[in-house]
């Protein structure tokens, strides 16, 4: 049994167990789910430890350099003149996926722990949760575009219901908005995927293939095919490969999310229950970034290079726009949601720079943001559970009421705003370094983008500190008066146990960034080399 396959499908197994158990034992569902996620975490840590590094394991466009690979023929259809359709069950990881995989497994554990707040319809919740679990893990492992797309789309439905059924007051609106936005992206992605599949033939078998890695090799494109590099085909007057890139990019940019495709995010986050917010911010957004690296850059390297300026521009706009929006929010969760937009802007900027520093920084930022946003949303959830209110103006002086809580909030806030010693600092600094290095190394981005990105860091400090000052410091004053005061108890053991590992990991990654960089370096270098070769 391939370990990745095991990792992907364990949730389904446990989901079946939950599905078969009667509702009378519903209180055990959360423990079953926790067990599943813990096993996944264990497996992913095992994978992390056994993940080999070195230039021979760069991955990216070398199929043989991927690790823990499993490749099984899945759908093979003879379609006459269209050739044979070859779809494989093809999973494997390289440096780009491994850290995200571990991050995902951990975030899932945290999300499970925060599911304790869910009180209604437990069976449905945990079934959907586990389905989502499978899908997100699958996305990071899939190397066949068809499989990737399958997992990618499979995330939508559980999320729709998780937001829609267990969410807040405007949950229906938020859920449908989320669904429509992402579907909009992915449907057009389907078109490009089909086009790619018809353009690419597997040199070994001569069949058309969905293999992502084969798609990266220009030699595999048949001359007259729509996405052939040599063919210079056009779609509606535009170069076909540019169109393909843009469509794929939009699909992933919606997930990231990149301004102006981001408006689903604040609504979805605000309305979603805490565990789902955690998964959304912690994992879902990373899938966008991962998709851009693996698919947009991998398959359309030359378009990515010519379009790098626009990518970087969008990244910078996201950074600033998200930060400004966060500054003006009155809802704590919404503020954090917008901060995610800002932070994910760094990912895009780093990717656009196409330098080793930038891309490493982007991956680091994804990992770091995975943990930090998880922590932030969990913290918001703690507050919301106590008094069912998140208005920043409704709280004052929480610091003396809930000192431990405040301590964790401060850790999370300062870590997020890029305080050295925490992971976000390394990530953002190197993203900017990469962006600034870009003009001299490959001339893709202008210098000012890095400077604008740096301003985003400043704004980050502004909104986090302002919130801190307004909500936690000063004399105590609560909108709900004495009732709230009783309700606002400090963190309990479960919450502390949940938060402490996150804080420690953020710290550990900040002090020892090599935990991430060592694993991704070879892949990053391979990617950069690949992009330079085009």
């Amino acid at each position: 049994m391939n370990i990745l396959t095991l990792l992907i499908f364990i949730p389904v197994l446990f989901g079946l167990i939950i599905a078969l158990l009667p509702s009378s034992v519903r209180s055990s569902f959360k423990y079953i789910t926790l067990l599943a996620t813990l096993i996944q975490l264990g497996i992913s840590i095992w994978i992390y430890i056994h993940f080999k590094t070195g230039t021979a394991y760069g991955g990216i466009n070398h199929e043989d350099q991927f690790q823990f690979v499993q490749k099984l023929p899945w759908i093979a259809l003879n379609l006459g003149s269209m050739g044979k359709m070859q779809i494989d069950y093809f999973v494997g990881i390289d440096g780009m996926s491994i850290t995200l995989l571990v991050m995902t497994s951990l975030v899932l554990v945290i999300a499970t722990l925060s599911s304790w707040e869910i009180k209604s319809n437990l069976k449905g919740f945990f079934l959907l949760f586990l389905l989502l679990d499978m899908a997100v893990i699958g996305v990071f492992c899939a190397l066949d575009f068809f499989l990737f797309y399958l997992f990618y789309e499979l995330m939508l439905l559980p999320l729709y219901f998780l937001i829609g059924m267990w969410g807040g007051a405007r949950r229906e609106y938020a859920a449908i908005k989320f669904f429509l936005y992402t579907l909009f992206g992915s449907v057009f992605m389907l078109l490009v995927m089909v086009g790619l599949y018809l353009s690419v033939t597997d040199p070994a078998t001569g069949n058309h293939t969905f293999n992502i890695i084969q798609m990266m090799n220009p030699a595999n494109y048949s001359g007259q095919s729509i996405f052939s590099i040599a063919g210079h085909q056009t779609i509606l007057g535009m170069p076909a490969r540019t169109v393909g890139f843009v469509v794929l990019f939009i699909a992933f940019a919606i997930k990231v999310p990149v301004v102006p495709l981001h408006t689903w995010l604040p609504d979805a986050h605000v309305e979603a229950p805490t565990p789902v917010s955690i998964i959304l911010a912690g994992i879902l957004l990373k899938i966008g970034g991962y998709g851009i690296i693996r698919i947009c850059l991998g398959i359309f390297p030359e378009v990515a290079t010519t379009g790098a300026f626009w990518l970087g521009l969008l990244g910078v706009i996201s950074i600033l726009y998200g930060a400004f929006n966060a500054l003006s929010q009155r809802d704590l969760k919404r503020m954090i949601a917008y901060s995610s937009v800002s932070h994910m802007g760094f990912v895009l900027l780093g990717i656009a720079s196409q330098t080793a520093e930038g891309v490493s920084g982007a991956v680091m930022q994804m990992v770091s943001h995975g943990f930090l946003s998880t922590m932030l949303f969990f913290l918001v959830g703690v507050l919301y559970n106590r008094v069912h209110d998140r208005g920043i103006q409704h709280f004052r002086g929480l610091g003396s009421l809930m000192p431990k809580y405040t301590a964790f909030v401060m850790i999370a806030f300062f870590a997020s705003l890029g305080l050295p010693g925490f992971s976000a600092f390394v990530a953002e600094a190197f993203t900017l370094a990469g962006a600034f290095k870009s003009p001299t190394v490959n001339g893709l981005l202008p210098y000012w983008m890095a400077v604008c990105g740096a301003v985003g860091i400043l704004l980050g400090a502004a909104y986090f500190l302002w919130t801190l000052q307004r909500m936690f410091f000063g004399t105590e004053s609560l909108k709900g008066g004495a009732v709230w005061k009783i309700a606002l108890t400090d963190l309990n053991l479960r919450e502390k146990l949940t938060l402490a590992p996150l804080a420690l990991i953020a710290l550990a990654l900040g002090i020892m960034p090599s935990l991430v960089f060592d694993k991704i370096n070879d892949s990053v270098l391979a990617l950069i080399q690949f992009l330079q070769l085009k």
Partner: protein, 497 residues
């Protein structure tokens, strides 16, 4: 007569030789008579018996269908003096039609309203049998006469089925609209056929094209357009779709399930039969049928899907959605390649399964709670979890999201169109695909309304209906399972097409 005498024996041997290629239809004819007789002998109590006979008979017919595959290994075969064409794709169309009809036959009595029909359902089975025979003819027809005959046969059967519940005003109203619209369209089509015959001097489609090329293109184009109205009536693409929402809503739900699926499949087969000479022959000088169909497809997708957004009645919504799906399927007709046909077959099969499933579930909820409108579904999800989950799966398949068969269907259609686009670079194909993708998003707008009401909206449900419709539930579970299975392993079916 004297001219014909020398040929009589030849013609007769042709007829006799054709029968071996016509066994399923012969069986169907016999089946019709057997059902009719059963009905006559056993009178009002015959419903159950008719059902058994009809269903069992259809299984036999399917078996005969399968046997035909062996007959045409050496290629398509013309029978009955070029009246019909038996081809591999035709056989699969017939098989799918029979299979779906079989499901629908079982389903008829599970609708509480239809079951309560005072005049009994035995006649419905007779009509359905004749209708299936008509569908078989439609699939195989390559002669103007057989085309007209088959369409009329199916149409008349459909009118009868829609208006079947005479005690229900909606049903009759739908019947009236259907019959007036249908009769008018088929009359117009007949006029078109008469012109086609006049311009070419033959009813045989294969010969027609050769003669038509010698006629003024405007004249021949007009004739073809009039014929397309008749076929379009069965397919319900824009602008011949107006009857669809009213009829689907008014008809008994099982009949809606029937109308929205099986005749459509047959009509697509017929459309392919009718058009392939025009598209393939270079001598055709009239309008570009590919472009015309593309426009029709695009407009149909837009009209169907966009109009569905505003609907509140579940059946009506599904009616619009079926219009949208017709538009999507037209995409595969436009390219008219071998792959196009097999992909189309798969797409239609999957669509039909899902659509039947959706209507079965709509029926289930009507049976259980009397819910007809989307709003009535509020909060039912937690009360009927299994049915609701199945509903979600089926709707997902209709939308075309993984991991359901609807997705693979959509994917294969896109692939087929794409591969043609690669060679022709026709802007219309691109637009078709673009619209297809866009309307998929739009379709989510309305499909999601059902899960949203089922699960997301909350309402206290007090009344409890004791009439449990287990059969419908089992059927929908089976269909959902099939859809997911085909979503993961599409080659289970596709490899044969």
């Amino acid at each position: 007569m004297h001219d014909l005498l020398p040929h009589i024996s030849e013609s007769l041997s042709n007829v006799l030789g054709s029968i071996i290629y016509f066994m399923p239809e012969v069986y169907l004819g016999l089946l019709f008579i057997v059902v009719l007789i059963t009905d006559l002998i056993f009178g009002k109590r015959s419903t159950k018996l008719c059902r058994i006979v009809a269903s069992a008979g259809l299984v036999l017919v399917m078996f005969k269908d399968l046997q035909q595959v062996a007959l045409i290994l050496d290629g398509p075969h013309l029978i009955f003096s070029n009246m019909l064409l038996l081809s591999r794709s035709g056989i699969f169309f017939k098989l799918i039609i029979d299979l779906l009809s079989f499901i629908l036959l079982l389903y008829f009595t599970w609708d509480n309203k239809l079951k309560a029909h005072q005049k009994g359902l035995s006649d419905l089975y007779s009509i359905a049998m004749a209708s299936v025979l008509g569908l078989h003819l439609m699939v195989m027809a390559v002669n103007l006469l057989s085309i007209y005959l088959a369409i009329e046969m199916v149409s008349i059967a459909s009118y009868l089925m829609v208006a079947y519940r005479t005690e229900n005003a909606f049903s009759t109203e739908a019947g009236l609209k259907y019959v007036l619209f249908g009769a008018a369209s088929s009359a117009i089509m007949l006029y078109g056929i008469s012109l086609l015959y006049g311009f070419s001097g033959t009813l045989d489609l294969a010969d027609t094209i050769g003669q038509l090329s010698k006629v003024n293109p405007i004249s021949s184009s007009f004739a073809v357009v009039l014929v397309l109205i008749g076929i379009g009536f069965k397919l319900s693409f824009v602008p011949i779709h107006f009857w669809v929402p009213d009829v689907y809503q008014g008809a008994p739900t099982p009949v809606t399930a029937y109308l929205s699926t099986v005749p459509k499949i047959a009509a697509f087969a017929l459309l392919i039969n009718f058009l392939s000479p025009f598209i393939l022959a270079s001598s055709w000088k009239g309008f570009d049928i590919g472009i015309a169909l593309s426009i029709a497809g695009i407009v149909t997708m837009i009209a169907g899907n966009f109009a569905a957004v505003m609907q509140s009645n579940v059946k009506r919504m599904l009616a619009y959605s079926s219009i949208g799906h017709t538009g999507f399927a037209l995409m595969a007709v436009v390219i008219l390649t071998v792959q196009g046909v097999s992909v189309l077959t798969y797409y239609l099969f999957v669509y039909a399964l899902a659509n039947i499933g959706a209507l079965v579930l709509a029926n289930y909820f009507t049976n259980e709670t009397g819910a007809e409108e989307v709003d009535d579904y509020r909060g039912l999800g937690l009360k009927y979890p299994t049915a609701s989950v199945c509903f979600v799966i089926i709707l997902i398949s209709l939308t075309g999201l993984p991991v359901t068969a609807g997705f693979t269907g959509k994917l294969f259609v896109f692939s087929a169109v794409y591969s043609v686009y690669e060679q022709t670079h026709s802007i219309w194909l691109m637009l078709l695909m673009f619209t297809g993708a866009l309307t998929t998003v739009v379709s989510l707008f309305y499909y999601i309304k059902i899960p949203m009401n089922l699960f997301l909206k909350r309402k206290e449900i007090a009344e409890i209906n004791n009439k449990k419709s287990h059969n419908l539930l089992i059927l929908s579970i089976l269909i959902s399972f099939m859809l997911v299975l085909l979503g993961i392993f599409p080659d289970l079916v596709l490899r044969y097409l």
